[in-house]
């Protein structure tokens, strides 16, 4: 786009030759990302000040993170073991909303070159929400080989989240029409869908339980700060939820009192279909 200002076509030719020169191709991942962030901010500003009608057209012009992916992958391919490649892959995973083949490719590049990096804690958190086989391999490896306790702990915790997600996915996939499965292939890749098609949700839940338990039992993992507490505290609530509050489990007893102070028990309602509504008048 820059050569637009140059006017004469000869100059344009020189400029486009320059555009493809190695000098300009060597833009760093940080620069590519900064360019996107700036474009996004600019779009956001114009969106905020736009009228309702203008917004409909504007929303289709929102800068999409996946537009950057070809450039980020080029950076990775040029020098996969570099800091810059790490930044590029990490951004696609944690902020670029990568899915399908892009996501798997970004993870695979980290798995090959950066499993010992100190910055993988956030990557692990993003992968706990990605129930793919590639993400599973990545987290398993990082938990084993990372020299950083915090990263290992997050890898373990997010393996638990991942197995829980996989179990959920196995349940939703049961009896799913072909079109739905095709969507899942686009989203997670063929390998994951094929593996989960024949997987046992209960076994996956057991794996999740074991990993949450591991976070609680390993003192190095348990004490890692997370949210307003520690990783062990989060693992504990998740474990409880998985064991007692997931679909298919018998609801835990509530033995308390009603608003008026009269005794009230959940089990008093056995034999009826029950809707429990956690509510407040706010």
């Amino acid at each position: 786009m820059r050569n637009k200002h140059m006017g004469p076509s000869t100059l344009g030719l020189v400029a486009s030759a320059f555009l493809f020169s190695p000098f300009l191709c060597a833009q760093s991942a940080k620069e590519v990302i900064a360019e996107h962030d700036a474009a996004y901010r600019e779009w956001m500003d114009s969106y905020r000040s736009a009228s309702k009608e203008e917004r409909t057209t504007l929303s289709s012009k929102r800068p999409r993170p996946n537009k950057l992916f070809p450039r980020l992958f080029a950076i990775i391919d040029a020098e996969p073991a570099s800091e810059d490649a790490l930044t590029a892959a990490n951004w696609m995973i944690t902020r670029g909303q990568a899915t399908g083949a892009d996501m798997n490719r970004a993870i695979a590049s980290l798995l090959q070159n950066h499993t010992k990096s100190e910055v993988l804690a956030i990557t692990c958190s993003a992968l706990g929400r990605t129930p793919t086989i590639v993400a599973e391999n990545f987290l398993t490896t990082v938990e084993k080989v990372s020299p950083h306790a915090k990263v290992k702990a997050q890898a373990c915790m997010n393996l638990a989240h991942l197995y829980k997600r996989q179990a959920g996915l196995v349940n939703t996939m049961t009896g799913m029409p072909e079109a739905g499965l095709k969507n899942l292939v686009g989203y997670y890749g063929r390998e994951t869908v094929d593996v989960l098609k024949t997987a046992d949700a209960t076994k996956l839940e057991k794996r999740a339980e074991a990993r949450y338990q591991q976070v609680m039992d390993n003192p190095e993992y348990a004490k890692v700060e997370y949210g307003r507490g520690t990783l062990a505290m989060t693992a504990k609530t998740n474990l409880y939820e998985l064991r007692f509050l997931s679909i298919g489990k018998t609801a835990p007893e509530i033995d308390g009192e009603d608003i008026d102070g009269n005794p009230m028990k959940l089990s008093d309602y056995r034999g009826k279909v029950v809707v429990i509504d956690f509510w407040g008048d706010w």
């Binding site: 409880y240 298919g248 308390g256 009603d258 608003i259 279909v273 809707v275 429990i276 956690f278 509510w279």
Partner: protein
């Protein structure tokens, strides 16, 4: 929420169905008045006057409203189904109940 819940309770009053709340408001007297004013006839557990009360903490509730739907055996069958999805979920479970004994007979 209230209008949908009121109509649900009214529509299913002759069915084996119960709507129960877990209320996390701060003031008991205020909420008693709200129930009167807004015609909230169903019972609610008292969550100790806080969103971090004993019941919501144990049930790991982090958003309000959170909804659990249990079948007649007390098994959790749906989570956070709202509006039409909630109606459908309840219908499914009620239909299961009325079909239940028949299926068992077949088995014998």
């Amino acid at each position: 929420m209230y209008p949908h819940e009121r109509s649900l309770v009214k529509r299913l009053k002759d069915k084996p169905f119960a709507l129960i709340g877990v209320n996390s408001d701060r003031n008991r007297e205020t909420i008693k008045q709200v129930c009167k004013d807004k015609n909230i006839s169903w019972r609610s557990f008292w969550n100790g006057g806080s969103t971090s009360g004993p019941i919501s903490s144990k049930w790991n509730v982090r958003g309000w409203p959170t909804i659990y739907i249990l079948d007649e055996k007390g098994v959790i069958r749906f989570k956070n189904a709202r509006g039409k999805a909630m109606d459908d979920a309840i219908e499914t479970l009620l239909a299961e109940m009325s079909q239940g004994p028949q299926t068992q007979k077949k088995g014998l």
